[in-house]
Structures are given as C-alpha cells and as structure tokens.
C-alpha cells in the first residue's frame, strides 16, 4: 500500500502540520511494509523540500508551476489525483488544517476513497484499516473503518509524534498539465497575520474569557502569551462581542485545539468551551470563583483575580526563561 503525503507549504516554507503529516505517512508506510512519497505544489526552494527527508520520507515530487502559488482546492485535488495514479498510491495523507480540509474531500469524491478527517493515531491494520478520530467536538473518540480500496487520512494537528532523522529527500520534478483556465477560484487578496502561530498548531495557548471585562484588558493575556511564545484564544462571547477576532474563538462551535498547555483566564468552563479544548495535554485555570466548572477539568488551578495573578505569572515566566539561557 504505497503512501502519498501532501506536504502543505506556505510561501516556500513548511510548518509543523506538514512535518507531522510527513512523519505520520512515513511511519504508516513502514507499518504497511511499503514506501512513502511526498508531494509539494508551487514555488518552493529545493533545499527546503529536501529537508522533508528529516521526517523520514525518501522521495518528494515537486510540481513547480507557479500557477499553483494560488490555492484552488479543485486544481490541487486534480494534481494530487494524478500523482496518486503515477505512484499507485493507496493511502493519501493530508494535514487536517484549513488547506487539507479543503482538498481532501475533493480527492475523496474523485477517487471514491474513504476519508478519516482528523486522525489522532496511526491506523490499526490488524483487520482492515481502522483509524481513531475525535467526534462530538472533543467529547468522544471513534474508531473509523475505511471500507474503500483507496484511503485518505488527514492528521489532526498536535496529535501524532514527529520522528526526526538527518536524512535528506530526493526531489523529483512532477509535471501535469494545468492551465490558468483550470482555476475557477481566483484569489484576489491575501491577508496574513504575520508572526502568529495558527491556533490549531500552537503548542501553548493563552485564552481569555468574559472575566477580563473588556478588550482594553487583553494586554495581560498578550504579555503572558509573548513570554511563553504562545498563541492567543478566547471564549465565544468574547469573539461575539467583537473584543477579539472570530478566528480566536475556541470550543464546540469554534476551533478545536490540542496544545500541550492551555491557560484559561476568566473563563467559566462551559461544556461547549471545554469540548473544544479538553484534548489539551495540560490545562491551567485562573479564575476568581472557586466554584467555576473549569476547575473540574483542569490540571492546575489558581483561585484569584486575573488582573493580579496574570501579570505576576508573566513576570515569573520571564524570570524562568531568563534563567534557562
């Protein structure tokens, strides 16, 4: 069962989600006694692509056509299907990030390949092909059996180990006919939030709730996040009130995150909020109400006023980081 991995690049660089997908695909190929190949679409320096070998993959196909610098999931799906055919791939691996979620269903429909969206572990291949994924927005897990001959797995961020070696991959040009007219979705503007970690990939997240009283008080959240190199998030009412941008809203109806550390400040811990964050490895709660439900779900808790505790914690983190150097 040869494995093809879509390694998602952004302006020529790869992020953690791509490394996780490559590492996962490679471990999977090993488990299946087969080979893994990655594919990269669009402009990207060869040395960056070769470095994907660090995550185990021996060979990477590179489609250099700069038309692919514009993302249209339908065109990406078409190119990936051509690569699947060329490599006789039977399992296709994506990152379960924004791009992966856009392309994978199109590939699934084209190839009639069953797709496990947001895999949390390698498949159990002892009888068939069964993959664990989150369901009920973090409240439970399901074992999903893929019934089709070809299979698609998208790997949930921050959920699988990354194995690193010092190998380099061989880069092989991949060409398929694509034309400007294939692009039905035309990108007219891109706005990147420079310097921020996409929340689903963040290893540490500092999150604020209505307990912070207003957007003018977010400085203490941002300072703590900066000290920790963390991403920032918020509860739903905070985003709904326009205190913070929508993309920071975590929970059952927002983004599901699984960081190593989630610090909740002035968040009560409603069931819908917990659903989106309870996959975090460790959770710290800072809340002035000792009865706040979040304390039942957390690993470490401080009962206190956020406006006093958080700046103190930021200082302590800074001092700790200082000492580490």
């Amino acid at each position: 069962m040869p494995v093809l991995i879509f390694a998602d690049q952004h302006e020529g660089t790869f992020r953690k989600a791509a490394f996780e997908a490559v590492s996962y695909g490679n471990s999977l190929a090993r488990q299946l006694g087969s080979t893994a190949t990655a594919i990269v679409l669009g402009t990207c320096e060869e040395q960056n692509i070769r470095a994907l070998g660090n995550f185990g993959v021996p060979k990477v196909l590179h489609h250099t056509n700069s038309l692919l610098d514009h993302f249209d999931p339908a065109v990406y799906a078409k190119v990936i299907c051509q690569a699947v055919e060329q490599e006789s791939a039977e399992v296709i691996v994506f990152s379960h990030n924004f791009n992966g979620k856009a392309i994978a269903p199109l590939v699934s429909a084209r190839l009639k390949a069953g797709w496990v969206a947001g895999a949390l572990a390698l498949p159990d291949t002892s009888s068939g092909f069964v993959v664990k994924k989150g369901v009920f927005s973090g409240k439970a897990f399901a074992q999903v059996k893929v019934l089709s001959e070809k299979k698609i797995v998208s790997v949930n961020p921050n959920s699988v180990p990354v194995e690193k070696t010092d190998q380099q991959a061989e880069v092989i040009p991949f060409d398929s006919q694509i034309q400007e007219s294939d692009f039905k979705v035309k990108v007219t503007a891109t706005e990147t939030l420079s310097g921020t970690v996409p929340l689903p990939e963040a290893e540490i997240i500092v999150s604020g709730g209505r307990g912070l009283k207003g957007p003018e008080n977010w400085g203490i959240v941002e300072d703590l996040a900066k000290a920790l190199g963390a991403g920032t998030a918020c509860s739903r009412p905070v985003a709904d009130s326009g205190w913070r941008p929508h993309h920071e809203h975590v929970g059952q109806t927002g983004i599901t995150v699984r960081p190593n550390l989630y610090i909740a400040i002035g968040i009560s811990g409603a069931i819908q909020h917990l659903a989106g964050v309870n996959g975090s490895k460790y959770m710290v709660v800072i809340n002035k109400d000792p009865e706040a439900p979040f304390f039942k779900a957390a690993d470490y808790g401080i009962v206190g006023d956020a406006f006093e505790v958080v700046p103190r914690l930021t200082k302590a983190i800074e001092a700790f980081k200082e000492k580490q150097h």
């Binding site: 199109l106 893929v146 089709s148 007219t188 190593n260 550390l261 401080i302």
Partner: protein, 247 residues
C-alpha cells in the same frame, strides 16, 4: 438566486455523550436535537440575507430518517421556502454527499451552502465531496460571502494564519463558518408557517459507503487538579517545567 442549504441534525451542545450496544452506538436517550450550529447560524442565515437583498428562494436539504423532521421544521421556521429530506441513514459522508449531489443536479441551484462541520461526527467534508461529485468550484471555511446575483461571488476564507479573498463563478459549493452572519431567532409568524411549508421526502439513490464507525470511546477522566496559591505563581512555573514538562 436559487440557494440550497444543507442542514444536518446534531445533539444539543449541552448533551451528555454516552454510548450503547457495547459502545457502538450513540445513546440518543434523553438527548435534545438541534440544527447543526454552523448550518443554521451561518449557511442558512446568509442564504436568507441574500434572498432578502436579491430576491430568489432558499431551499433546504437533509439526509436522514423521519427523526430529522422536527429539526428541519426548525430551520424552515427561520424563513426558508421548502425542504427535501432524503430518507436514508446518514452514516457516511460520501454517501450523504452523493444523495445531496443527486438532488442538486436536478434542482439547478446557483449556490450550495453547507456548514463548516457537523458538531457530532466532525467530518468537515460533505460540502467538498458534493463539489467533487458535481465538479463545481469549492470554497471551504468561508467567513464572508457577497454576491450581486450576477453569476459571481466574492468569498473570504480562512487559510493557515490569515484570510484570503477570492472570486468564484457560480454555481459553487461553499462551506460556511463564523463571521458570515449573525444567529437569528425565528419569529412567531414564521414558526406558525413552518409547519405548512413543503417538506418533500425522497428515496435515496444508490451510492457507496466508504467508511463505517466501528466503536466509540470516551476520554480518560482527569486525575485531579492541583491548586496553587495566587501569591505563589513560581510554584506553578516549577510544576509546568518539572512535572508537566510543557515549558
């Protein structure tokens, strides 16, 4: 504009999740069902706003058994014109998409909207699969959707660490998320009318099922919390470093 909105039924967000039949089935006992939040709050409300601005009609489709009817009536009560229910079991995303694609082909819609993902099975895929089957353009995770009704739409979508604005020729399939519209409350008149709106039940077409859930598990309960005094944050830093090893 003729808009088709894909509506799915999900357990209420406060529902306690448990399983029966040796952890192979979701236990529906005592569970309230709602319209999947992103289908209702974003896809449906945006469709209604476009109808109000440009004229046209808003149609709903759901794939599932008769137990979906109360939920689809709730969605009709927000102001959609009519609904189709494909009467079959909706256990596989591709199978569901194939049913919707079949109906959409016959309906001649300008726009097909889905939610970002269902909050029960978290597939995030039915919309893309419909687009793949119908070979229509697909934009996922859209936070804004504008059209003048001139056969084109401008859409904002989430990308890794940012947003992208794109234009697309219609018909197209778009999956909708937060930002696109504000949640609405049904008014009494619409609630009264919803019961009388056409809800057509159709038989499924043949399609493959590509996946199957074989069992469920619940997360391990947390082992208990360690409380730290508010004036001893250094202790928290120590625990995060030495015990949790996350900093």
């Amino acid at each position: 504009m003729k808009i088709l909105v894909c509506i799915s039924k999900t357990p209420d967000t406060t529902a306690k999740i448990t399983f029966t039949d040796n952890n192979t089935k979701f236990d529906e006992q005592g569970v309230q069902f709602i319209v999947n939040p992103s289908d209702e709050w974003y896809a449906l409300v945006r469709a209604l706003e476009l109808k109000e601005a440009l004229g046209g009609t808003v149609h709903l489709i759901t794939v599932g058994g008769p137990d979906n009817d109360p939920v689809i009536r709730k969605a009709l009560a927000l102001g959609a014109d009519d609904a189709i229910r494909v009467d079959t079991d909706a256990s596989d995303g591709y199978y569901v998409a194939a049913q919707i694609a079949h109906c959409a082909r016959e309906g001649g819609y300008d726009l097909l909207l889905t939610g970002k993902e269902t909050i029960d099975y978290n597939g995030s895929g039915v919309g893309g699969m419909i687009a793949g089957i119908l070979e229509l353009p697909y934009i996922s995770l859209a936070t804004k959707l504008e059209t003048e009704g001139n056969g084109e739409a401008t859409v904002r979508r989430e990308i890794e660490g940012g947003e992208e604005v794109c234009s697309v020729k219609l018909p197209a399939v778009i999956s909708c998320m937060k930002g696109m519209a504000e949640q609405r409350i049904a008014n009494v008149r619409n609630i009264m009318m919803a019961g009388r709106k056409p809800l057509k039940v159709v038989e499924p077409v043949d399609a493959d099922k590509l996946t199957e859930i074989i069992s469920f598990t619940l997360p391990e309960p947390k082992s208990g919390i360690k409380m730290i005094a508010p004036d001893n944050v250094e202790e928290l830093v120590r625990l995060l470093h030495e015990e949790a090893k996350v900093i």
